[in-house]
C-alpha cells in the first residue's frame, strides 16, 4: 500500500505510540484487503460501547488508551439510558462499568452521543468517506445518503478515528458498489413490513448488493428498517432502493414470503430498533393517543432527537410508555431473558441470540395494541 510522507511519519511513531498503533492497524487492514492507499474520512462511528458487549476486555483496552480522535466521532448505543437507568432496573455494578467506558471514550475527544442513527445528529455529505461500524447506519449511509463506508468493527473504526483515514477498499471503491441481484416486490408494503422484508432478504442474499423494485417509493424510515434487517440476517452494507437496470439474477417475492408477523403475550414491547426518528415518534404518539399502557412499552431513540421532541415524548409518556435514550434494547441487560415484541427485523434476529429472549415481530400498531391490551 502506498503511504504518503505524513502516513510514514505516523507509522514511524512521530505522533506518539497510540497513533503509531492505529496506523499499524490501518496498514495491516489495507494489506489484507488489497487497498492501494489510505483515504481521509469525514467522520467515524464506533461500536463496542455497552459493557454487556465489550466487558472487562474492552474496558481494559480503553483504560490504557490515550490521545484524541482527529475527525468527528460518535458512539453506538450502550446498555442503558444515562439518566433513567434506575427505571430500567439496571444494577449499579453495571452502571459503574458502563459510565467508565463512556468516560474513557469522552477522554479521547469522542462525542458520546450513543446512537445507531448518527445521521440524525449530523448527516454525512454525499460521496463522503466514513468509518462507521453500526451495521444499520452503514447501510443507511451507503444506500440512502450516498456516502461510502465499509462495515467496520469497533477497534478498526477507533483506529480510523485516531488517524482520520481508512484504507481504500470495499465499499469505498466504485467497482464494489454495483448491484448484483434484483429483488422484485409487486405488492404494496408499509412501515414495519420493510423490517420484515429486510429480515427475509438478508437471509437469502447474505452479502450481495441488491437493487429493489417497489410498487411505491419507500420513506426514509422504511429504508432504515429495510437496511437494518438485511444487515442483521445477512451482511448487506449497500442496497439500491430505486428502480434501476435489472441484474441478471432476479428474485421475486410474494406477500406470503415476508409475512412473518405473529401475535403474542410478551413480557415487554420494545420499539426503536434502529432508534426512532421524529416521524416515527409522531406515529407512535398518534397510535397511543388517549390510551393507557398496561404492559411495559419501551421506545428507544437518540438523545439528540429526544431533546428536540420533548412535547411528543411527554404525550407518549403520559400513556405509561417509557422513552429511553442512549440505549440499544439488544445490548442492554434490561431486556435479557424476557419475551419481547418488536416492530424491527433487526431486533427479531438478535433478540433470541443476544438477549436470550423469545422475540416476535408485529406492525407498529399491533405492538402498540399489545402494549395497551386492546
Amino acid at each position: 500500500m502506498h503511504l504518503n510522507r505524513n502516513d510514514e511519519d505516523t507509522l514511524a511513531g512521530e505522533l506518539g505510540p497510540v497513533k503509531q498503533k492505529a496506523m499499524e492497524i490501518l496498514v495491516a487492514l489495507g494489506d489484507i484487503y488489497g487497498a492501494e492507499k489510505l483515504i481521509p474520512i469525514e467522520s467515524a462511528q464506533i461500536a463496542g460501547v455497552s459493557y454487556k458487549t465489550i466487558g472487562e476486555a474492552g474496558l481494559e483496552y480503553l483504560t490504557d488508551l490515550t490521545g484524541s480522535v482527529t475527525v468527528p466521532t460518535m458512539l453506538n448505543p450502550m446498555g442503558m439510558d444515562r439518566y433513567k437507568w434506575r427505571q430500567m432496573g439496571i444494577k449499579e455494578a453495571f452502571v459503574e462499568k458502563q459510565l467508565a467506558i463512556i468516560r474513557r471514550y469522552e477522554s479521547l475527544g469522542i462525542d458520546a452521543q450513543c446512537t445507531c442513527t448518527p445521521y440524525y445528529v449530523k448527516a454525512p455529505r454525499k460521496e463522503a468517506h466514513l468509518s462507521w461500524s453500526e451495521s444499520s447506519a452503514v447501510s443507511y449511509a451507503n444506500s440512502v445518503l450516498g456516502a461510502r463506508t465499509n462495515r467496520e468493527g469497533g477497534p478498526s473504526a477507533l483506529a480510523a478515528a485516531l488517524v482520520g483515514k481508512t484504507p481504500d477498499y470495499g465499499y469505498h471503491l466504485d467497482e464494489n458498489r454495483v448491484p448484483d441481484i434484483s429483488i422484485k416486490i409487486d405488492f404494496p408494503l408499509a412501515g414495519a413490513d420493510f423490517g420484515a422484508l429486510g429480515y427475509v432478504v438478508g437471509k437469502i442474499i447474505n452479502s450481495q448488493v441488491p437493487q429493489f423494485s417497489f410498487v411505491t417509493p419507500p420513506s426514509d424510515d422504511e429504508l432504515k428498517a429495510l437496511g437494518a434487517g438485511m444487515a442483521a440476517t445477512g451482511s448487506v452494507a449497500l442496497f439500491y432502493p430505486e428502480q434501476g437496470a435489472m441484474s441478471s439474477e432476479i428474485i421475486e417475492l410474494e406477500r406470503s414470503d415476508v409475512d412473518i408477523y405473529s401475535s403474542s403475550e410478551p413480557d415487554v414491547v420494545v420499539l426503536g430498533c434502529p432508534h426512532c426518528s421524529r416521524s416515527e415518534l409522531t406515529e407512535i404518539a398518534r397510535l397511543l393517543e388517549g390510551r393507557t399502557v398496561t404492559r411495559p412499552l419501551w421506545i428507544c431513540t437518540s438523545r439528540f432527537v429526544a431533546d428536540r421532541c420533548s412535547s411528543l415524548i411527554s404525550r407518549i409518556e403520559a400513556t405509561g410508555a417509557r422513552v429511553i435514550c442512549d440505549t440499544c434494547m439488544i445490548v442492554s441487560p434490561a431486556f435479557e431473558k424476557r419475551s419481547m415484541m418488536v416492530n424491527s427485523g433487526k431486533a427479531l434476529e438478535y433478540g433470541p441470540n443476544l438477549c436470550n429472549s423469545h422475540t416476535v415481530i408485529g406492525t407498529t400498531s399491533s405492538c402498540v395494541n399489545t402494549a395497551c391490551n386492546t
Binding site: K21, E24, I25, A28, L29, D31, I32, A47, G48, T53, I54, G55, E56, A57, G58, E60, Y61, S133, G153, G154, P155, S156, A159
Partner: protein
C-alpha cells in the same frame, strides 16, 4: 533423533515482533470472544477441537479468526494477563485477529509459502520472525 532440521518458510508480516515456542495447531477458525478464557489462556469453547488446551506462550496456528470484533480486545486482555501466545500464525488473517495482535504486541504472520496447518505439527518448536517475515520450524 539427536539432530533436528530447521525448515524456513517466508510469509507476510501483519504484526511486528519475534516469538518462539511450542506449536498449537488447529484447522478450525477461532473466536477469541467466547472461545478463549482471557484469565487462564485456555480454549474454552467446548465445540472447538482445542477445547481445554492452553495457548500461553505457544505459537498458535489456525486458519483465521471468526466471531465478534470484541475478540481483538480479548487478545489484549490475554497479553495484559501474561497469558497470550508467543506468536500467531494464520493461513490468511482477517480484521479481528490482525487488530488484536497489533494492539497487544503479539507477532502475527500469514500467507506463508506453504500451508502452515499441514507443515507444522502440534508440539514442534517454532520460531516466528515478524521483523524479517519468516518462520523456522523444527522438523
Amino acid at each position: 533423533m539427536a539432530f533436528s532440521m530447521l525448515q524456513r518458510i517466508k510469509g507476510r508480516i501483519i504484526s511486528k515482533g519475534i516469538g518462539e515456542g511450542s506449536a498449537v495447531v488447529t484447522h478450525q477458525p477461532l473466536s477469541f470472544l467466547g472461545g478463549v478464557d482471557p484469565t487462564q489462556g485456555v480454549i474454552k469453547d467446548p465445540k472447538h477441537e482445542l477445547y481445554g488446551t492452553s495457548i500461553v506462550g505457544t505459537i498458535l496456528t489456525f486458519p483465521q479468526g471468526k466471531g465478534s470484533t470484541v475478540g481483538s480486545y480479548v487478545m489484549y486482555q490475554l497479553k495484559r494477563n501474561g497469558k497470550a501466545p508467543a506468536a500467531i500464525i494464520n493461513v490468511s488473517s482477517e480484521t479481528i485477529v490482525a487488530v488484536g495482535a497489533i494492539i497487544s504486541n503479539i507477532p502475527l504472520i500469514d500467507r506463508l509459502e506453504v500451508d502452515p496447518i499441514a507443515a507444522i505439527k502440534s508440539g514442534s518448536r517454532v520460531f516466528v520472525n515478524c521483523v524479517e517475515g519468516f518462520i523456522e520450524v523444527e522438523t
